[in-house]
């Protein structure tokens, strides 16, 4: 049964990874505006081949948020 300790530790590491991922998303501003993206996706396909925004890698809200 000692293997349980390893398993618990492993599961905590996996869950912790998701927690860290959440914090990364939070800090990069993904939770700042929950309304506009829902409208934005409606016309995402409208100007194909001109998505200059993603090319530049420029961020408006801080760390890597595009």
């Amino acid at each position: 049964m000692e293997i349980m300790i390893v398993l618990i530790g492993f599961s905590l590491v996996v869950a912790g990874g998701f927690l860290i991922a959440f914090f990364w998303a939070l800090r990069s501003g993904q939770f700042d505006d929950l309304f506009t993206p829902a409208m934005r996706m409606l016309f995402e396909s409208r100007r194909k081949g001109r998505s200059k925004k993603t090319e530049s890698g420029e961020s408006l809200h801080g760390n890597g948020d595009i």
Binding site: L12, F22, D32, T36, R46
Partner: protein, 810 residues
């Protein structure tokens, strides 16, 4: 700005025969521009259309039906010249490193998905724009641009040219770090949830009584993990409870976070002791559950309407920059650099920034901001002007007497701010309960300890701490945010937007209601004059408009506002006789506008009515009539509210309409006429200092002081695009008659909270029964805490929904 008369063609133009503008959807007049078979109501709209099509952006018109905004008619000129000033630029930009700049602009006109699409494709319009992003709920646009290719001024002018003129206020300058408290709360909640889930899992052996497992090495490892997982909960997630409790205590208030903090501390230290010394299970699972649930409550309560959270203090009404005259040169300087003795230029529709003397030109100053009276005052050279007035008409030249910060208006407002700060704060119901509850629980804990000391010394500490743990008011602390939060959301759903959920409680406890008159109980802006007479052709309307826009008489201005869509013609002769009317000679026509006597030469058959008669080339065409229309359902609303609260009417107007008002409000209602904004504020302040809770209902800038000083200030608004002063809530004018229902709901809500308090006391009593005997097992605590909280939350939420349905709010 969207026109007030959008989709409402003028009375006598048959709508069907006229095409609507392909850009903004307004009806097109005769002779309006046309291109490619598309009609436009004005050259402005056509220009925007061409700009967009030239940049391959005409997809804009496919996303929504006629989404366009009318650009400002007159040329921009040097309206945005101040944006070239380095100090102003630096203060406005979020970020600037010479090659790349970033700015967040407030654009209240953003109204549909096409707006988002267009504004996020700005880079197609100018290569200097790197990227742009819209925050729809804040009506904000964040733009990244290369300042060596497009200056800030050019950027703003570009936006203005396509109808999205940003609102740049003085308060935008300087530090404007975005509100990050949401992120913090989400982070707290995520950590608490993560630890709660894991600690609960690790506690399963205890729940099932698996002694062999608990006593093995695994059990020890589990215990260490539990401690490790509860540390971030106590020191990170629960941090806000501790700081709020400490803050409250320093202000000599025992708020709800005090017993919560005590509970968390006792839970943690006792569990730590139990796990480390006797090797028992501890209460770490209950601890994590408690913090997690309480944070959910916080999150629920935190929802605010973002447009309301903007700071709207007095400074934001002042211009950012002024035009200073130096010899013959005109230079733009930031308002903070304005000194006494400077000569400045104030153009049409601009605010006077500082107390000054009129040097050149004729002033027609609208002091409605200061006095509440909107009829302009005529001032001639040499006379004194006060800051806050708005010039209507040709540009005037002023000599500044005092710096803007020392102006009469500014002093008035700083007094106001001081007075509001001194007002007693209303203690919330939860705090009131906690003030009694906390010492009681501590006393019970002490008694339980003393009692057990006599029989079994070892159990004394057990019993005392168990009492404090059980009494930790989780259910008590959750019922308020959920009841108020639900009511807050339901009000928002039916167009009463309250600043935060605490306003619901304050609304329930008001003892007096004060109404403003114009724009609040009467319909403002949309007042369409009724025309009585023969058919009025477009050409005639244009002539009338050209004539009345020369005049500053309030009725002329109102008629001018109504006819503003017509292009004015040059005026050859103009004469105005005060109290009678005006006479103009335009494009070969003689035009008379004014009283019956002025136009028709004999006394009015209908004296007392504020009709404006018009005649062109000696032929009387008819008359316009403006009437203050009371809002629909006002009588019923007054009947309902009069039974519960004393009502008061404060208005800046004269008592000309007193009779009509008495007819609705009844004889006994207190009414005060000719009230300046400061008088209104003083009245509210005075009542509040006497211990009353005042609900102020107003609409305009002249009510802003009273709205801020009142316990609850609600602004009535015709559309969400218009300006609103700082207040606790915004009520859509169409739902004005529902006001009593909202108040009823807020009162119900308070009753529901009281009942839920009873319910949670019951749970506490059950827990205390176990605790005082020193028999509180971890499993009882782990079940009792979430069970009581969840049932209380369900109870208050469902009850609030039910009452809202009964009251007709939803």
């Amino acid at each position: 700005m969207p026109s007030l008369f959008k989709n409402e063609p003028a009375d006598d133009i048959p709508a069907a025969t006229n095409p609507v503008c392909a850009h903004c959807g307004d009806p097109c007049g005769t002779g309006s521009p046309e291109e490619d078979g598309k009609h436009f109501c004005c050259t402005g709209c056509l220009t925007v259309f061409s700009i967009l099509r030239g940049s391959d952006l005409d997809e804009y018109y496919a996303i929504e039906n006629k989404p366009g905004l009318k650009p400002n008619q007159p040329g921009l000129g040097d309206r945005y010249a101040y944006l070239d000033d380095e100090t102003i630029k630096d203060a406005l930009l979020d970020f600037n490193d010479g090659t790349r700049s970033r700015i967040t602009l407030s654009i209240p006109q953003i109204h549909c998905s096409a707006c988002i699409w267009l504004l996020e494709n700005l880079y197609s319009l100018h290569k200097g724009i790197v990227s742009s992003r819209v925050d729809f709920s804040r009506r904000e646009l964040a733009v990244s641009f290369a300042p060596d290719q497009i200056s800030l001024r050019k950027l703003v002018e570009l936006l203005a040219s396509i109808g999205y003129a940003p609102e740049i206020k003085k308060t935008d300058m300087g530090d404007k770090r975005p509100d990050k408290s949401f992120r913090r709360l989400y982070g707290n909640l995520a950590v608490a949830g993560f630890c709660f889930g894991n600690v609960m899992l690790l506690s399963l052996p205890n729940y099932f009584g698996l002694d062999w497992l608990i006593k093995s090495n695994i059990g020890t490892a589990i215990n260490i993990l539990k401690i490790a997982l509860s540390l971030p909960v106590v020191f990170y997630s629960a941090h806000d409870f501790f700081s709020s409790a400490w803050h409250g205590l320093r202000q000599k208030q025992v708020n709800m976070d005090v017993p919560i903090s005590i509970g968390i501390t006792i839970l943690f230290s006792r569990s730590l002791y139990e796990i480390l010394i006797p090797g028992q299970a501890g209460f770490m699972d209950s601890l994590c559950a408690l913090v997690f649930l309480l944070l959910i409550g916080r999150l629920y309560q935190k929802k605010t309407y973002r447009t309301l959270s903007k700071k709207g203090d007095f400074q934001s009404y002042l211009p950012i920059a002024v035009i200073k005259k130096e010899g013959d040169r005109e230079i733009t300087i930031p308002i903070d650099n304005l000194k006494a003795g400077d000569h400045i230029l104030v153009r049409n529709q601009e605010l006077i920034p500082a107390d000054s003397n009129l040097e050149k030109g004729e002033g027609h100053i609208d002091y409605s901001f200061v006095t509440g009276e909107s009829a302009p005052v005529t001032v001639s050279a040499g006379e004194k002007l006060y800051a806050g007035g708005r010039q209507i008409g040709a540009a005037i030249e002023l000599a500044v007497i005092k710096k803007p910060s020392q102006s009469y208006l500014m002093q008035l407002w700083s007094q106001t701010a001081g007075a509001i700060k001194d007002q007693p704060q209303l203690m919330t119901l939860a705090t009131k309960v906690s003030t009694v509850f906390t010492p009681t629980v501590i006393l019970i804990a002490i008694f339980a300890g003393i009692y057990w000391l006599q029989y079994d010394g070892a159990r004394a500490l057990d019993a005392a701490t168990a009492v404090l743990i059980v009494a930790c008011p989780c259910a008590l602390a959750l019922s308020t945010p959920f009841a108020l939060g639900t009511a807050h959301r339901l009000c928002g759903r039916s167009d009463l937007y309250l600043k935060d959920s605490n306003v619901v409680e304050r609304l329930a406890r008001i003892s007096r209601i004060i109404f403003d008159k114009t724009g609040t109980i009467t319909q403002s802006g949309a007042e369409k004059p009724q025309f009585k007479g023969n058919y009025l052709s477009d050409e005639n309307k244009r002539l009338i408009y050209s004539a009345v826009r020369q005049s500053t008489h309030p009725l002329s201005i109102r008629l001018g506002n109504y006819l503003h869509e017509y292009e004015p013609l040059p005026v050859d002769q103009f004469e105005e006789v005060t109290g009678r009317g005006l006479k103009a000679f335009i494009a070969g026509h003689d035009i008379l506008v004014g009283s019956h006597r002025w136009v028709c030469g004999k006394e009015d058959t209908e004296p007392g009515s504020s009709r404006i008669y018009v005649s062109i080339d000696g032929k009387t065409l008819g008359s316009f009539k403006f009437a203050n229309l009371f809002r629909k359902g006002l009588r019923e609303l007054v009947e309902n509210l009069k039974k519960l609260y004393p009502l008061v009417l404060l208005t800046g107007d004269t008592d000309a309409e007193k009779k009509r008002i008495i007819d609705i409000f009844g004889e006994g209602t207190e009414m005060r006429f000719r009230q300046s904004p400061h008088d209104k504020l003083a009245y509210v302040h005075d009542r509040t200092m006497k211990g009353e809770q005042v609900l102020m209902i107003g609409d305009g800038i002249n009510d802003s002081g009273a709205l801020a000083a009142a316990s609850v200030g609600i602004t009535v608004m015709e559309s969400d695009a218009t300006f609103s002063p700082e207040s606790d809530g915004i009520l859509k004018a169409g739902n004005f008659r529902m006001l009593p229902r909202y108040i009823d709901l807020s009162r119900d809500c308070l009753t529901i909270i009281k009942v839920s308090f009873g319910l949670s006391f019951l749970y506490n009593a059950v827990g205390l029964y176990f605790a005082a005997q020193g028999a509180l097992s971890p499993i009882i605590a782990a079940v009792l805490m979430p069970a009581s909280s969840v049932t209380v939350v369900l109870f208050v939420t469902l009850m609030t929904f039910y009452r809202a349905g009964r009251r007709g709010v939803i």
